[in-house]
Amino acid sequence: MQNHFDLFGLPPAFAVDEVRLERAYREIQSRVHPDRFAHAGDAERRASLQWTTRVNEAYRALKNPVQRASHILELQGVDVAFETNTAMPPDFLMEQMALREALADATSAKDLGALDGLQKRIDADRRQLEGRLGEFIDRKKDYAGAANLVRELKFLEKMEAEIDAAYEAIE
């Protein structure tokens, strides 16, 4: 499989150097982007489209914590198994259910203040989880343990999307 870190000349780590990533991304884009080949022949335009697409995809994956972690695990031969492995720690699940209920209540009451509170809460949980994930992957090299955390992080990501949708529904 393709290694997104290699593409940008970065070491494969969860704690990615965002400044270097962005600089490498822009450096490559400035050479392969279709805007550089708008007046070129078909062959070059096609090659440019393929490369830019690939670079955008890799950049998007490395910027997103869930995808970045999944990618590292995949490179290590560990399957995160979002679809098949749905076992979660019971207390985590209880907490998520409570949060979802709070979200449903805030939505039906059109309570923007409660939504703001929920968003802050998820943000904090997310940061904390990302910190642990960095430790599992980069320091302990405990990839199986990391896979569990990635699934939890994915839960929070979904919750965030639902909060966004709730804001939209209220507005």
Partner: protein, 620 residues
């Protein structure tokens, strides 16, 4: 002392150095064409010195077409055949149009996109738009002294795939080589950003005649990165006219109006609206065909009251874009105002209040999009040396997905993904032995298919018989730099492969465009062959130059034999360009393209290798 050389007007001093490229703002109300001359972007005026071309097309029964001011003067006398605000109908069906009853046309419901019955026959919005683009192309060719190498046409950022495809088709139908479809707020950001050498996060609030866009961009060191975009493709200045119109009908207690009176009163309503930008009160008078005389006056307070919901309606997308960007109001360093409708004081106030800062109005809101498009066209044509150009990273405004069981949407490419983008998703069969699958491609944010826009349906056949759930069909969505989608599906578990590529169904087939082009030439005085030859020449020359500069830069990547084969194609091209057979030139173009395929891929790999090498040295 040496004498300074001056080229003849309209002739560029080095014909093969500069490519003639323009930016076109194809607006709901007005359209413009601009180009970069001596490093400065300027709007090209018509023979009377007017920069704006009203986006109005009138069809006459003798087959002739009036465009712009000529059509505008007849809009109230001949409303059925005079199409205004056609942009609102691009890529839209009859059921998509609000206030259908207030539009005085004979609509024809056609699959994919509505059509309008006129004295000169049934016309699609694509054809009407092409009529607006044609005089702009002619204006530019006259001013620049030759056939255009290419054009950038702007579209609202919130335009979906159907609307974009329709716009590109209109460009081709007007005989333009469309270098790129550029989002209007992004074009405005280029004009502003380069003018002020700005850095940081900017919001572009673009309220045009019929569309509203809000884009959030990050500007830094020659990179324009759109982080989020939102909007409403059916909200614009026209809606404010409509509110005034309805208010006037109510005030004057008018019975339902004829198409002619409706258009007359709408024109008067627009004038009243524009008057209110600079005055506290505006008269609205009209002599209707019924003999009735409308004589009312509208004051600022009333105008603000009846349009308040419209102003508020623009703030929803503003909030959404900020949320998508993960940014707050305080992160925004400047708010750029674009579009004639942003002249309305209540809009300026609402935006200032929301962002807690005065919006930027230093460039003409009617021209800024065309100017930015011209700058981008200049870069795309390769007229800017590397290092002086910039990089533009734009996004798709609406998620793209596919229908799954139960009428639900599986999103494949989420909104605000940087383009070009591609994403694949695997699907499987539902029944044992199922040998075909049908796909429904949709665009939108809602969960239910029925709430999204249907883009295309296609079938994949020839799946080998397998148990339900065993087949693996990989569907790939590819969005190009214009924001246009193509879809590909293939089954490959058994090694048996079936593949299909679709272009969404409302787009015109290449054959249709060619036929329409031929038809339009037989009406016009344009000589078909001369035109075809001129265009083939531009294309052949372009490819020849591109290949030569590629060889000069990276010729070392080729083995002697490969180099010889490309050289042979180049020689063929040179011979073809000497002659007057446009087909021979086209063949030479194809042959040269084919011969350089591997070379192109290798150059791209090499470019990335160099980019990284340079970076790592810098990072050490």
């Amino acid at each position: 002392m040496a004498l300074l050389q001056i080229a003849e007007p309209g002739q560029s001093p080095e014909p093969h150095e500069r490519r003639l490229a323009v930016g076109i703002d194809l607006g709901t109300t007005n359209s413009l064409v601009a180009t970069v001359r001596s490093g400065v972007a300027t709007v090209l005026p018509d023979a009377q010195g007017r920069g704006l071309l009203p986006s109005i097309v009138r069809y006459l029964s003798n087959g002739n077409v009036e465009v712009g001011y000529a059509a505008q003067t007849h809009q109230a006398v001949d409303p059925k055949n005079t199409v205004v605000s056609v942009k609102r109908f691009m890529g839209r069906g009859v059921k998509d149009i609000d206030h259908l009853q207030n539009a005085p046309y004979d609509f024809v419901d056609a699959p994919g996109m509505l059509q309008i019955r006129t004295a000169a026959g049934v016309k699609s919005p694509v054809e009407v738009s092409a009529e607006i683009l044609k005089p702009l192309r002619q204006r530019a060719e006259a001013a620049l002294g030759g056939p255009l190498s290419g054009a950038v046409i702007t579209v609202p950022a919130y335009f979906d795939d159907a609307q974009r495809q329709a716009t590109k088709d209109a460009g081709r139908l007007a005989g333009l080589n469309v270098l790129r479809l550029l989002n209007e707020p992004t074009a405005a950001a280029i004009a502003y950003g380069l003018d002020n050498a700005s850095e940081g996060v900017f919001a572009v609030y673009d309220l045009g005649g019929g569309t509203f866009d809000l884009s959030i961009l990050k500007l830094s060191k020659g990179v324009f990165e759109v982080v989020a975009t939102s909007g409403d493709s059916l909200l614009g200045g026209d809606d404010f006219d409509q509110r005034v119109f309805c208010w006037a009908v109510e005030q004057a207690k008018l019975a339902p109006l004829s198409p002619r009176d409706m258009r007359l009163l709408l024109v008067k309503s627009r004038e009243a609206k524009e008057h209110l930008t600079y005055h506290g009160e505006a008269p609205l008078t009209a002599r209707l065909s019924t003999g009735e005389f409308v004589d009312v006056a509208i004051d600022t307070e009333t105008f603000c009251r009846i349009t308040q919901t419209l102003v508020q309606k623009t703030l929803g997308p503003v909030r959404k874009a900020l949320r998508d960007a993960g940014l707050g109001v305080s992160d925004v360093q400047g708010v750029v105002m674009v579009g004639g409708a942003t002249r309305m004081p209540q809009i300026q106030r609402a935006v200032a209040e929301f962002f807690k800062r005065d919006p930027l109005n230093n460039l003409d809101p009617d021209k800024v999009v065309a100017l930015g498009a011209a700058m981008q066209a200049n870069v795309l044509a390769g007229n800017k040396p590397q290092g002086e150009d910039w990089l533009l990273l734009d996004v798709i405004p609406l998620s793209l997905g596919i229908e799954t069981m139960g009428g639900l949407v599986e999103k494949i490419i989420p909104r605000n993904s940087t383009i070009p983008a591609a994403r694949a998703q695997e699907f499987t069969t539902f029944k044992d032995g199922q040998n075909g699958m049908s796909f429904h491609v949709v665009q939108g944010e809602r969960e239910l298919v029925s709430d999204c826009r249907s883009l295309a349906r296609f079938e994949l056949k020839g799946i080998p018989p397998m148990a339900a759930g065993a087949a693996r069909v990989r569907v790939t969505f590819q969005v190009d730099a214009d924001g246009l989608l193509s879809v590909n599906a293939r089954e490959n578990t058994t090694g048996a492969e079936a593949s299909v590529a679709v272009k969404p169904s409302y787009g015109l087939a290449d054959a249709d465009i060619e036929r329409m082009l031929r038809d339009s030439f037989s009406h016009a005085k344009d000589d078909v062959h001369a035109r075809a030859l001129a265009e083939a020449h531009v294309e052949g020359q372009r490819l020849l130059e591109a290949t030569r500069s590629a060889l000069a830069a990276d010729g070392a990547l080729l083995a002697a034999q490969e180099k010889a084969s490309i050289d042979a194609r180049i020689a063929e091209m040179e011979r073809a360009l000497q002659g007057s057979d446009h087909r021979a030139i086209k063949q030479a173009v194809e042959a040269l393209n084919h011969a350089t395929e591997d070379f192109a891929a290798r150059r791209m790999d090499e470019g990335i290798r160099r980019a990284l090498a340079g970076k790592q040295i810098g990072a050490l």
